[in-house]
């Protein structure tokens, strides 16, 4: 009788399960269950209080007619298109510069990585002051140089670019570190061989660095896109969606529906539309990157 128990305890697999139990429980209770529950809720008229009624696709159909949803969708796409290509490109340039042997290398690397480990709320609060139209540092410098001083967060035109610029700066360090890791995985012998064959720096960059960084780039771009679609904190702190909803994004609208409008079913439907969107975009990227995988 005791033998069975002992043999079970001796099995490695059993102990494996015991040790992954905490994280698995956490995952099941705080991730999987809510994900499935919100899928169900998206087909109901749940208000978070009363018993939800199943209403089929009504929430999804109502979305087609929702002007504010469309506006937040467009704002979100604007943000994604504004942050991802530029953010990734600048990070790559910086990574290449910081991959060379220059003085104070670690100082620069740490400096660029610092915003990543800083709380978004703190960063956004500081930038809100930098962007201040009258007293802000940015307009102060632009004014000294006699340049155009935008209204930054104050105007419907400039509010979103302001958030984009800040977010690129904030995320730069993370992308840079990944690129640095990718760059260091490229064997120097390739560059040497190219040099001997007479390739100049620009040719080496486009024919060695870029192709060999393809997987790294994919990883960075996918993460950047997912993160950008889910933008919330900086909007919440810097503009609260204003002026006139010009910076209101999808996640902010989900929050409003779930916690202010008593429409948790509707909010869940929006969340699933967002999920589908991210899923499709990511899938397309992976497909594109899988072509002629020869390196």
């Amino acid at each position: 009788m005791n033998g069975k128990l002992t043999s079970m305890l001796n099995r490695e697999a059993f102990w494996g399960y015991v040790f992954v139990l905490p994280i698995m429980l956490g995952f099941l209770v705080f991730m999987l269950y809510p994900v499935l529950a919100s899928l169900y809720l998206s087909f109901t008229d749940s208000d978070g209080i009363r018993q939800p009624n199943f209403i089929g696709l009504e929430n999804y159909i109502a979305l087609l007619d929702d002007r504010i949803f469309k506006k937040t969708m467009i704002n979100t796409l604007y943000y994604v298109i504004g942050t991802v290509p530029l953010g990734v490109f600048i990070a790559l340039l910086i990574a290449i510069m910081l991959n060379s042997k220059i003085r104070f290398l670690n100082f620069y690397r740490a400096g660029i990585f610092l915003p990543v480990v800083t709380s978004m709320i703190a960063v956004a609060t500081v930038w809100k002051w930098l962007y201040n139209t009258q007293y802000g540092l940015i307009n102060g410098i632009l004014g000294k140089m006699g340049l155009f001083q935008p209204d930054w967060l104050s105007s419907t035109t400039w509010a979103m670019p302001s958030i984009i610029i800040m977010s690129i700066w904030k995320g730069l360090g993370f992308n840079m570190v990944i690129f640095l890791a990718g760059l260091q995985g490229i064997s120097p012998s390739l560059y040497e061989a190219a040099k001997i064959d007479g390739a100049n720096a620009i040719q080496r960059f486009f024919h060695i660095t870029i192709p060999l960084l393809r997987h790294t780039t994919l990883f960075v771009v996918v993460l950047a896109i997912i993160g950008s679609f889910q933008v919330f904190d900086q909007v919440y702190v810097m503009t609260a969606g204003g002026p006139a909803n010009s910076t209101s994004v999808i996640v902010y609208y989900i929050y409003q529906n779930a916690f202010q409008f008593f429409k948790q079913g509707y909010a869940s439907a929006i969340a699933y539309v967002l999920f589908a969107l991210i899923f499709v975009v990511t899938l397309v990227q992976i497909k594109i990157s899988q072509r002629k995988d020869v390196y």
Binding site: L9, V18, P22, W129, L153, A244, Q256
Partner: protein, 431 residues
């Protein structure tokens, strides 16, 4: 045998870690909440009551509760702190089946009453000869009824008046405003008090407390037909929109984007003398008492348009429909909104008692802070509670706020704004 002990230890560790993660997730009230419900002490009933606000505001509630418990040793009040995200926390508590016995509420009594969260109070009020509903401001109590039934009682009201900087008025050679001043007087003074780039006559904040007042004072309505339909097609509403636009166009107030960009509240701008006038309820009084302003200031009622309608902040209490102790909860609620509770409200001087109870109101007058503090009490009868009247107000206010933003930023005319809001509200309310 040794292995079994190790296994047992690991399981206990895992389970307790997991449980502690769960309970910290539901907030600090987790463990004590349970002991309240399962209390075996036959004589003492525990009432869980929500609380929120600044530390001074909480001190006020705690003091009221302590006095109550001293007088009613068989009832214990246990606090459920709902923090600053009151909507979110209240909704989470209800969804989690962990609703407090007494709710702390501002403007969302109706949406929760509609969903059956509260116990109707009519029978209990009628059956309690020691309670007098007529002492409360009728406009306030009416706003807490849903389909004819009363669901909450107000403890505090904070009518919006004008705070003004006396020294700036005097330096500009202006007469000090009086409680019967007109909208024209306000504009005349505000224009003189506005200087490009360093001083504004007034700070318009884009929320119902301000725009509701401007619209109503100019004869408009936000909702009509017993608060079921858009009132944005009314000529008075358009007039109100034009007046608000004039505040910006004439350089009296910064627009909402400029306010956002400046990054300071209107209280800070008033304190720095960057704004000669602001509109607010009593909520700035504690700050101005604690850290006095370095100039002379006073308050005055909002300027007269057709009338002197104004907005307000309100604190209401409601009893949960699920409470196991309705009678004890009523005793607590009655004490908070009764004479003793109202005297403590008056003592703290950061809101008015929501009833006409004279002793408490006299305490406010006697505080003489500022000298025209009576303007708040006078204004209480002029308060409009449109934002309490529709269960979907939160949604309506997002639409109105967005369109008003566009108008105040100069991106659309008052006429276009009126038309857009009317169309969207009609579409939403029609559903």
């Amino acid at each position: 045998m040794k292995r079994l002990a190790v296994l047992g230890f690991v399981i206990i560790l895992v389970v307790s870690l997991f449980l502690s993660a769960c309970s910290s997730g539901t907030g600090g009230s987790g463990s004590s909440g349970e002991s309240g419900d399962t209390s075996t002490d036959k004589d003492v009933v525990t009432i869980r009551m929500a609380v929120s606000g600044s530390s001074a505001e909480k001190a006020l509630r705690y003091e009221t509760a302590d006095l109550f418990m001293e007088k009613n040793p068989h009832i214990k009040i246990e606090w459920v702190d709902i923090g600053n995200e009151r909507y979110q926390q209240t909704l989470t508590l209800i969804s989690g089946g962990n609703a407090p016995d007494i709710f702390y509420l501002n403007d969302w009594v109706l949406p929760l009453a509609e969903r059956g969260v509260f116990m109707p109070l009519d029978d209990i009020v009628d059956g309690d000869p020691s309670f007098n509903l007529n002492e409360f401001y009728p406009n306030l109590v009416d706003a807490l009824r849903y389909e004819g039934k009363l669901y909450a009682l107000p403890q505090e009201v904070s009518p919006i008046v004008v705070y003004y900087n006396e020294e700036l008025f005097e330096a500009a050679g202006l007469e000090l405003p009086t409680d019967d001043w007109t909208q024209q007087d306000f504009f005349n003074a505000a224009k003189v008090l506005s200087q490009p780039d360093n001083q504004y006559g007034y700070i318009y904040s884009n929320w119902i407390g301000h725009y509701g007042g401007w619209i109503h004072r100019n004869g408009g309505k936000i909702l009509v037909d017993d608060y079921t339909k858009s009132g944005f097609d009314q000529p008075g509403t358009l007039e109100g929109l034009r007046v608000m636009r004039a505040l910006i166009d004439e350089g009296i107030s910064p627009n909402p984007a400029e306010i956002q960009a400046m990054g300071q509240g209107d209280e800070a701008m008033f304190r720095n003398q960057q704004a000669a006038m602001i509109m607010a309820g009593l909520w700035w009084l504690p700050a101005f008492l604690q850290e006095p302003l370095d100039f002379k200031w006073n308050v005055v009622k909002v300027p007269k348009g057709g009338d002197q309608t104004t907005g307000s902040g309100v604190l209401n209490w409601a009893i949960s429909a699920d409470t196991k102790h309705p009678e004890e909860a009523w005793e607590v609620l009655k004490f908070f909104v009764g004479h003793e509770g109202m005297e403590i409200v008056a003592k703290y001087n950061m809101a008015l008692p929501a009833s006409t109870y004279d002793v408490a109101n006299q305490m406010i007058l006697d505080s003489n802070f500022p000298s025209n503090v009576g303007a708040f009490i006078d204004a209480a009868n002029d308060v409009d509670y449109t934002e309490f009247r529709h269960p979907r107000w939160a949604e309506l206010s997002v639409i109105i706020g967005e369109q008003l933003d566009l108008m105040l930023l100069g991106e659309q005319t008052p006429e276009e704004t009126q038309k857009n809001i009317h169309e969207e509200l009609t579409q939403l309310l029609g559903k």
